[in-house]
């Protein structure tokens, strides 16, 4: 059973074997999303499990048009959002709280940064900054959509994004400063 369509049909029929096959195919991709949205590995695992249960339950609702993988990612992201909606009170930040990014051109150095490092930087963000940054920068949500999903204002979404970018930028900067020091120390 290698054909994704066959697997999908098997899942719709509630076959455990098909469900396991789907899990094996996509769990790594989807788990990466979970980690990106969750603050820690335990939360990420919970989101992954809840998300897959939802995927299996709602499988029959997938119309067939559009990307199936994208549809699953969307469910996983929404599962993560639901979890954080209930877990954290997402607070409003005034829109004039924007943070100006420093105008350092770090093109050369950030090219070498690893995905794992970037992931850890994202995980260090506060939940709300993490969600907004993930949704806007990586998933491509608009501020309006983010505002609706997280029940915050568009202004708050924008300021959260600015703040998240600033923190990430600082984090990258510090990371490379430390790297340089290590290199120079050698």
């Amino acid at each position: 059973m290698t054909n994704i369509e066959e697997i999908r049909k098997g899942c719709v029929a509630g076959k455990l074997k098909a469900q396991e096959e789907l899990y094996r195919m996509f769990s790594a991709k989807l788990y990466a999303i979970c980690i990106r949205y969750a603050g820690n590995a335990d939360d990420a695992q919970d989101v992954l499990q809840d998300g897959f249960i939802k995927i299996f339950q709602k499988m029959h609702q997938f119309s067939g048009s559009g990307s199936f993988e994208g549809w699953m990612k969307r469910i996983m992201i929404n599962t993560a959002l639901e979890r954080y909606r209930s877990k954290y009170h997402l607070h409003t930040v005034h829109s004039d709280d924007n943070v100006k990014l420093e105008k350092h051109d770090e093109n050369d150095i950030i090219d070498n940064i690893s995905a794992n490092e970037l992931m850890s930087f994202i995980q260090e963000l506060t939940p709300q900054y993490r969600l907004v940054f993930n949704m806007y920068a990586i998933e491509g949500y608009s501020h309006k959509e983010i505002a609706e999903e997280l029940s915050i204002s568009e202004g708050t979404s924008k300021s959260n994004l600015s703040r998240a970018r600033y923190i990430l930028q600082q984090r990258i900067k510090n990371y490379f400063s430390a790297e340089r020091k290590i290199i120079m120390g050698k």
């Binding site: 469900q19 396991e20 790594a28 990466a32 990307s67 549809w71 100006k100 990014l101 920068a137 959509e145």
Partner: protein, 489 residues
């Protein structure tokens, strides 16, 4: 600045978007454990549903039996009082034409019934040829409420045979160019990504919408309920007194109905159809002969039992239809009737056993009120109903209305005496296909996202006369309380 921002976003997106990280080994075990658990719960849910339906059916059956018993008990208690007064009528062999005996009986009945019967007799005589009236007219009239009237007419004579009368939005959205979104996103995010996101996002939104509001979807439904059936009669040939007597004498029946159907929900409106069984009938506690030509042998169809001397056969008809007896079926072997005899100058009301089989001396007398003739008709209905949900939350209230095609799948006439039923025959002169209209108020409660329990009082009225070729037009109606479940497909 903008470039800086975009670079930050781009860096994270490019590195992390398609990143794969293997989840912990135990993850799948936990997921599969939960899936199995859910299946168990689902099975348990359906088992509970089945138990609930079984309970519902059992309750309805008990109620139905209880109502029937209540009716019988009332009838028996009535008959006991009568029997105390009418001991002379309990003698088994009354099948003689001894005038004295008849007159004696007549005198008794006359003292009770004269006032009631005179008016009716005069009215009814209008339909009977004068020669027959002079020779022999027997009428039995419902003396008490709850007694029914049946006319007998001679097959050969025909004296009483009176002739007569979902998702398109999503696709549209998917095709919609995501220009606005594109402008809001950093410039170098590819069109493809935005388009892909747009499609997936709308798809998800649509899915959520379907889940939240379930705008259009199918439901499977099952109904079962207790039904009380009765009828309205009209006639241009019978006088108001006769109709009133019929109404007082023929009583409705408690019965049941139910079936399976499909419902298509479109927002607050729904359209439903299916296949529903229902039973209609009435109980007749009194039988009478309208006309007994030639002699005073009031032999009825139903007393043509084994060994009975059937010199002539009579159809027995009442407001519903003609009892077309089945000669191959074991039947009650004797019958007594109440009657009013008039010789033109005098009325002789009385009660007489009209046929007493030499083989089976069972003395069945409808007029004793502990025996009834029950007429039952079985229908299969294909309804076309429209429903509007006034309240569409967890609690649902709806108004429904529509029409139904009712096919008669069978009929039966039984003699009921002390809970013992004897099959007499079928009912003739009834239409095979009948149109009805139904109105109801439905109350539902969502016990699960897909399952709704509902209870619905409803009234069903036949739009055409159920019978034909009889002097009375017969419009059944049913008042029912149906309960059941719907399951969203």
């Amino acid at each position: 600045m903008s470039r800086m921002k975009n670079q930050m976003d781009s860096l994270f997106r490019e590195r992390l978007n398609d990143l794969e990280i293997a989840p912990p080994e135990n993850s799948w075990n936990e997921i599969s454990g939960r899936l199995k658990n859910k299946r168990k719960k689902k099975r348990m849910f359906f088992m509970r549903m089945a138990a609930a339906v079984a309970l519902l059916i059992a309750t309805s059956f008990i109620l139905y039996t209880f109502f029937n018993q209540t009716n019988t008990q009332t009838a028996i208690s009535g008959s006991e009082i009568k029997n105390q007064k009418q001991e002379s009528f309990a003698a088994p062999n009354l099948y003689d034409n001894n005038q004295d005996n008849v007159i004696e009986n007549n005198n008794y009945a006359s003292s009770r019934d004269k006032n009631n019967t005179n008016n009716l007799k005069n009215d009814r005589n209008r339909f009977i040829p004068a020669d027959i009236q002079q020779e022999s007219i027997a009428q039995v009239v419902g003396k008490n409420k709850g007694e029914a009237i049946l006319y007998s007419s001679d097959l050969s004579n025909d004296s009483f045979q009176i002739k007569e009368k979902n998702r398109k939005n999503k696709l549209a959205l998917a095709n919609e160019p995501p220009l606005q979104k594109q402008n809001m996103l950093p410039g170098f995010i590819s069109d493809n990504l935005v388009s892909q996101h747009s499609l997936e996002h709308h798809q998800y939104e649509e899915m959520e919408k379907v889940e939240k509001t379930r705008k259009s979807y199918w439901e499977f439904m099952g109904n079962y309920g207790s039904v009380y059936s009765d009828r309205l009669i009209t006639s241009t040939q019978l006088g108001p007194d006769e109709k009133a007597a019929m109404n007082a004498a023929e009583s409705g029946l408690n019965s049941f109905g139910g079936g399976l159907g499909l419902r298509y929900n479109l927002d607050r409106w729904s359209f439903e159809s299916g296949l529903f069984y229902s039973r209609f009938g009435q109980s007749n506690k009194q039988i009478l002969t309208e006309s007994t030509p030639y002699n005073r042998n009031y032999e009825m169809a139903i007393n043509k039992g084994i060994g009975a001397i059937a010199q002539s056969e009579y159809l027995v008809n009442n407001s519903l239809g003609v009892i077309a007896y089945n000669s191959s079926t074991e039947r009650v072997t004797s019958l007594s009737v109440n009657y009013v005899q008039s010789d033109g100058d005098h009325d002789y009301s009385g009660k007489e056993q009209v046929m007493n089989s030499p083989v089976d001396a069972m003395n069945v007398r409808l007029s004793d009120a502990n025996s009834n003739i029950i007429q039952r008709i079985h229908f299969l209905e294909i309804p076309l109903m429209v429903r509007y949900k006034v309240i569409d939350e967890k609690f649902i209230m709806s108004l429904s209305g529509g029409f139904g095609a009712n096919v008669v799948t069978g009929s039966e006439v039984v003699f009921e005496q002390q809970n013992d039923e004897k099959y007499v025959g079928k009912i003739s002169h009834i239409n095979e296909l009948n149109v009805s209209s139904t109105f109801g108020i439905g109350f539902g409660y969502k016990i699960h996202s897909d399952v709704t329990f509902h209870i619905e009082p409803s009234v069903k009225v036949f739009l055409n006369s159920l019978n034909h070729g009889l002097p009375v037009n017969f419009y059944p109606y049913q008042i029912g309380i149906f309960t059941g479940f719907t399951y969203a497909l």
